[in-house]
């Protein structure tokens, strides 16, 4: 199952709403792939960066960190938190050949801000990071943990947006703010132009305007090299070696969104190769997972503990409530499976994996390894693919 997903794959991108367990799943997928002998990097783009908790990383964005694996693992795992600013700096340096031009750009007073906002460059930089790792022959596979739902769609659009920007005359215009209103001739047009520029100055402050214009001029010089990168990123995303995995959970507050999101993803031209349904509540699995850490002897000075009919009734009620959760989830899951049949052109080829709820939740490396083991060896009922 997992082998099908990893076969011939260089990049796995995980998509899904907030709180479905994308980070845990991405980490587990990366661990499982590394245990199969692949040299894996897991990259997180989510500013909340829970990946550092899941893999117990130091808080140092932009640097690869080796993650310890069990002894039987034949591959390797590195993890990296996105450092958009640092990456942009390096990119500017590299593309401008380390010249004074790089210094001019990097020292531009508004560069720091612009670097973080240029055509949504956080998402763009995530892809630049992805490309760098994918091009690095020290690694076989990149697993990408994206920000929640729609922010991820922006991510996918990013190369096209940056290409559109580079192909438009926006940079030229920005370098000459007066051209904002086009080739204005005549007194009225000149008057409008002047008012407009005054308005712009008042809105932004004169220096900001001048600095943007300077930055745009400098940046235009490295634009062709930048365009090549953006094209390479677009090719990578649309290429055969990139797989997209939709992550969801069969919970009432999350599941209804899955189908809406799946359709949006599909319409954005992203083929969903696999669905991982996380946190499937399974009493049988929980029963086999060993005892829960409970307070062994609650403090009390009341009469000694005794069994009562009331307690028995309560237990039956607890059990009934939980079975109801299970039943409800089964209904969600079958609705989701049916619904996903209407998404994409080859729904039958889509892989469908289910991972059980772990209690306590897998928030440490050990927990992630438990999920990875499960992902690598799903039980027979999950081994069918598609429907």
């Amino acid at each position: 199952m997992l082998d099908d997903l990893l076969d011939g794959t260089r990049v796995v991108v995980l998509l899904g709403a907030g709180g479905v367990g994308k980070t845990t799943t991405a980490s587990a997928l990366a661990v499982a792939a590394a245990q199969r002998g692949l040299r894996v990097v897991v990259l997180t783009v989510d500013p909340a960066a829970r990946l550092k908790d899941a893999l117990e990383l130091p808080d140092e964005p932009g640097t690869l960190h080796r993650v310890p694996l069990p002894d039987d693992a034949t591959g390797t795992l590195d993890a990296i938190l996105l450092d958009a600013k640092g990456l942009f700096d390096n990119l500017v340096r590299r593309l401008s050949g380390g010249s004074t031009l790089a210094t001019a750009i990097l020292e531009n007073p508004i560069y720091r801000n612009v670097a973080g906002a240029f055509a949504g460059s956080d998402s763009y930089m995530a892809l630049e990071q992805l490309l760098e790792i994918a091009e690095d022959d020290r690694f076989d596979l990149v697993v990408v943990d994206t920000p929640p739902a729609t922010h991820a769609l922006e991510l996918f659009d990013a190369p096209d947006r940056i290409l559109a920007l580079l192909e438009s005359n926006a940079l030229d215009y920005l370098s000459e703010p007066l051209r904002l209103v086009g080739a204005a001739t005549g007194r009225i047009a000149q008057g409008i132009l002047t008012t407009l520029v005054v308005a712009l100055e008042r809105m932004t402050g004169m220096h900001l305007m001048r600095d943007i214009s300077q930055l745009a001029t400098d940046f235009a010089t490295i634009a062709p090299a930048f365009r090549q990168r953006a094209e390479a990123i677009r090719d990578l995303l649309h290429g055969e070696e990139t797989r997209f995995v939709l992550v969801s959970a069969p919970e009432p507050h999350i599941a209804p969104e899955l189908l809406t999101f799946a359709h949006q993803v599909d319409q954005a031209g992203i083929p969903i190769d696999s669905v991982i349904l996380n946190r499937v509540f399974d009493l049988a699995y929980l029963g086999s997972a060993g005892d829960l850490p409970l307070d062994p002897e609650p403090k009390t000075n009341r009469k000694p503990a005794g069994w009562s009919a009331g307690l028995a009734r309560k237990l039956v009620q607890c059990n009934r409530d939980l079975e109801m959760v299970e039943d409800e989830q089964r209904r969600w899951i079958s609705e989701l499976r049916d619904g996903m049949q209407a998404v994409g052109t080859h729904p039958e080829a889509r892989l469908w994996m289910e991972l059980p709820t772990l209690t306590p939740a897998p928030t440490t490396l050990r927990g992630v390894q438990a999920i990875a083991a499960r992902l690598g060896h799903p039980d027979p009922q999950n081994q069918e693919s598609g429907l």
Binding site: G18, V20, P47, A48, R50, I110, N113, G116, A117, F118, A119, P147, A149, H151, L165, S168, N169, A170, L171, Y173, L174, L180, I192, A199, E201, R202, M203, T204, G205, L208, A249, P252, H253, P256, F261, Q264, L283, G287, L292, P293, L294, D295, P296, E297, P298, T300, R302, A305, G306, W307, S308, G310, L311, K314, C318, N319, L322, M324, V325, T359
Partner: protein, 305 residues
């Protein structure tokens, strides 16, 4: 000048921000306050929670005293620019200029500032001196995107902007920092990451001097057993006198109860006050009628906010 109040709801993805925001506005409406629920226009769930057709950018009353609307980024920018460049022809010209769009993208936080500016307009909107809305509830993005949003007016103001934009930003920033008008509700669930993120977020917001409501702990499993019964359960485990599936069911409730206590303890440690706990609803879907238990608890928060 009398204006409405603003509550911003945020937290880690998946903790139930939208539910809490809807419940909060519904609770206020029940109290006879005119409430407005705002969602930032990403294909959102608010409409489905409210059981209504997709929201529009103009507030629509969806039931007595309760209106809802979505904030569209482009419309927010438009409204900001039109306010700053009051000559319609010029503002239209600007807005349709590709370069201007690039310029907007290049000014960090302008989009966020425009969104918050729009929120402020709703809070301050009055008819004949009376606020249109007593309470505006903003269903904000998840933690990671929430701090940049709320910090935007401040960081933009730091660019030492001049003129009307600076003035507008200053007023929005003032609203964000005015405890008499604004408060942020950070929502968590009793899980390590959600609690960790809530604590980080509250720390970051406190640094921005944005007023905070007590933390909200959502989806707390109900307490089912007395201490005496827990001892009986432990004894029964020892002598195998109980059906393992029943014991597991009991254990799950007990374990989640312990987790909730630990979450509450950690949140209290930072906040100095106990979190407001909202129960996990068993076997219930998400519709406004299901939010009634949440409303009862939240009502006290609305009154005292």
């Amino acid at each position: 000048m009398s204006t409405g109040r603003l509550v911003i709801v945020t937290g880690k993805g998946g903790v139930g921000k939208t539910t809490v925001a809807a419940a909060l506005a519904a609770a206020a409406a029940e109290e006879g306050q005119r409430a407005l629920l705002l969602e930032i226009a990403r294909p959102g769930r608010l409409a489905s929670v409210l059981g209504t057709s997709p929201l529009e950018s103009e507030p629509r009353e969806i039931r007595s005293n309760l209106s809802a609307a979505e904030l569209d980024e482009e419309l927010c920018i438009r409204s900001l620019i039109q306010k700053l460049v009051p000559i319609r022809m010029l503002s239209e010209r600007l807005l349709s200029s590709r370069s201007f769009q690039v310029l907007c993208a290049a000014i960090p936080g302008i989009l966020e500032a425009a969104l918050l500016n729009r929120v402020r307009q709703y809070v301050e909107r009055t008819t004949a001196g009376v606020p249109d809305f007593d309470l505006v509830v903003l269903d904000a993005p998840a933690s990671g995107h929430s701090v940049p949003l709320l910090a935007a007016p401040r960081s933009l103001a730091n660019l030492s902007l001049l003129g009307p934009l600076a003035e507008t930003l200053r007023r929005t920033d003032q609203l964000m920092n005015d405890p008499a008008r604004t408060a942020v509700a950070v929502v968590a669930i009793p899980e390590d990451w959600a609690v960790a993120e809530a604590r980080e977020l509250r720390g970051a917001l406190a640094e921005l001097q944005i007023p905070l409501l007590p933390p909200i702990l959502n989806r707390v499993w109900p307490r089912r057993f007395t201490q005496n019964e827990e001892r009986a359960l432990n004894a029964a485990r020892e002598d195998d006198s109980i059906d393992p599936s029943l014991l597991l069911a009991g254990d799950l409730f007990r374990f989640h109860r312990l987790q909730a206590q630990e979450a509450a303890r950690q949140l209290k440690q930072d906040a100095g006050e106990r979190p407001l706990e909202l129960p996990l609803l068993f076997g219930e879907g998400m519709a406004l009628s299901d939010l009634v238990p949440l409303q009862v608890l939240l009502r006290s928060l609305v009154i005292h906010a």
